[in-house]
């Protein structure tokens, strides 16, 4: 039982980390609010489903086009909405959240509801690890999550684009004087964040069905992880995912599954009391705290 919990806890943590990463890239690292994140996640899922089932394209092509479309949606969100309220974070949040709502509820309205909406797994079958059966898809998710994390860490610390993302969040004016086009990189970060959402959707959704509620779940979970780990800190997201992920899995296996939500609530409450801007946040003393 313990070993199984450890294994599934790791998978759960990977899922949370994967969900939070795209959101963190845009909001935490680049300082651009994208509360339509959950909607884009669901959008990518449904789009892939449409390509696979209604139009009948092969898997890899569908996935590829979906990711591309998600990036385009991200860019559009920036060019149509964010650019007009750039810098007014709360307006960005409200506008993107409103848009996210519109997208998700439209899907619900057009009857994209039901058990037939599922995505196929990447690899079928399962493997036994130390007596515990884990399906390949879940392992695949863990693999992608780990890979993504490494990639993102290197990306934001060592590539020109990644560094530009961090620059526009930390000190936009200076970035501008250094020739970094804030709007271009803002749009790019939104595109990348959306692409990450799409990737997450494609590997995670096969575990269940594509449901509109999932979009809200994704946003809540991403927010919870970011609140606990600290916005902007890739390390923080990791630690927070592990903490919350394992706490959830232990609760589910040793107590009752429906207490799982309490875990996230308690985690947020504890963090708020102890270190409100997140465990690993880059706390700028004069800026964040009163």
């Amino acid at each position: 039982m313990l070993f199984g919990t450890l294994v599934y806890g790791f998978i759960n943590s990977s899922i949370l980390a994967l969900l939070a990463m795209g959101f963190n890239l845009t909001f935490g690292i680049s300082g651009v609010a994208n509360f339509a994140y959950g909607a884009i996640y669901i959008f990518a899922g449904f789009l892939t489903w449409i390509f696979l089932n209604s139009i009948g394209i092969n898997y890899f092509l569908s996935v590829g086009i979906s990711i591309l479309c998600s990036m385009i949606v991200g860019i559009l969100v920036y060019q149509v909405i964010i650019i007009r309220v750039r810098g007014l974070i709360l307006s960005e949040v409200m506008a993107t959240f409103g848009l996210g709502l519109v997208i998700m509820e439209l899907f619900r309205y057009f009857d994209f509801v039901g058990f037939r909406y599922t995505l196929p797994v990447f690899i079928d079958g399962s493997i036994s690890i130390g007596g515990v059966y884990v399906d390949y898809q879940r392992l695949f998710i863990a693999l992608i999550a780990v890979g993504m994390t490494l990639f993102l860490y290197l990306f934001t610390h060592h590539t020109k684009i990644g560094l530009s993302f961090r620059a526009i969040a930390q000190e936009e004016r200076t970035a501008l004087t250094l020739g970094i086009n804030s709007d271009f990189y803002g749009a790019l970060s939104l595109a990348f964040g959306s692409a990450l959402a799409a990737v997450a959707a494609i590997v995670i959704l096969p575990l269940g069905t594509i449901a509109v509620e999932g979009g809200y779940e994704v946003l809540i979970n991403a927010l919870a992880v970011c609140i606990v780990g600290g916005l902007g800190s890739t390390v923080g997201i990791l630690i927070a995912s592990v903490l919350i992920g394992y706490a959830q899995t232990f609760t589910a296996n040793y107590l009752e599954p429906h207490w799982m939500i309490l875990v996230s609530l308690i985690a947020i409450a504890v963090v708020l009391i102890v270190k409100p801007s997140g465990l690993f946040s880059h706390q700028k003393e004069l800026e964040e705290r009163i």
């Binding site: 949040v93 409200m94 964040e288 009163i290």
Partner: protein, 335 residues
Amino acid sequence: MMKKRKERIDRGIKARSEDIFALSSLREMIYLLIPRAIPVLGLLVVSPFLSAYWQEVFISTAIYALLAISWDLLASCGLVSLGQSLFYGIGSYIAGALNYYLGWSPLFTIPVATIGGGVLCTIFLLPVLRLRGIYFAMVTLVLPLMFLRLVEATRILGGTEGLTGLDSFPTQLTALYVIQLALLAALFGFRRIMGSDYGLIIMGINDNDRSVMNAGINIFWYKTQVLFLASAVGSFAGAFGTHMDMFAGMPGFALDYSIMPVAAAVVGGMGTFAGPMVGSFILVPLSEILRALGALRIVFYGLFLVVFIVALPEGLFHYIQRKYHQFERWVEVEK
């Protein structure tokens, strides 16, 4: 061809300032009275004559308007709430539980739920008050959604079915007047508060909180007070709604109650309290008329929210106010 520019000139009535002024003529008194008389008269006098169906819509609108006004108070202090449904849900459950388990009448459940809800919500959000802007918005967004799942999972307080068969008001008319008086009290009360020196502190906190700290004022304490006021009003709305529907349950934490006040404030104009009220009185009846579209209600609010934030950020009320106080004309650009 001469270039033209728009020139704005204040109207020739002196009683335009927000501060103290002397009313020296009937004309001035009427100028000031009319915008204030319209809501008061419109609501109190017209409402009893509406049909039963439209009275219900009216009451629903008033409930939403209370949430929107509560939102505006928080926003005036720099606290943007994306979860007004937290206040509604808590107020709703307190009143519902008191009525269901203890048999208290609405006369008692509503006041207790108002104060109790205010206290509880303030306690929940206290830790985030010490942080800047975005954290408050994030936490208020997440909390009601979590409470929703908490109730569903632990099945307390009626679980997914909620508490049904609660007491209602003696007559429809009673309900109608109670909610209207509450609405007007909140509207004019908050406007009065914000117009006083206390309101100046609140606006200062929104504008530049470190400067207010530097003026020897404990901003944490003032934020707490504002939070309590706003959450009490929101809880009142929830308690009232519970007795209107004779039901308290998970829908009390629904996204509807969170999004609509924000949309109303954005459409109507933030910071004026009258603006969100105007916004509510436009959006809610409109969404009723479009009821045939069913689930599209949220889409509707969302769309309004997005369009107005981007296109008319100042909101309708500011726009109308500007037109009322000034007139514009095209003037040739002088060399």
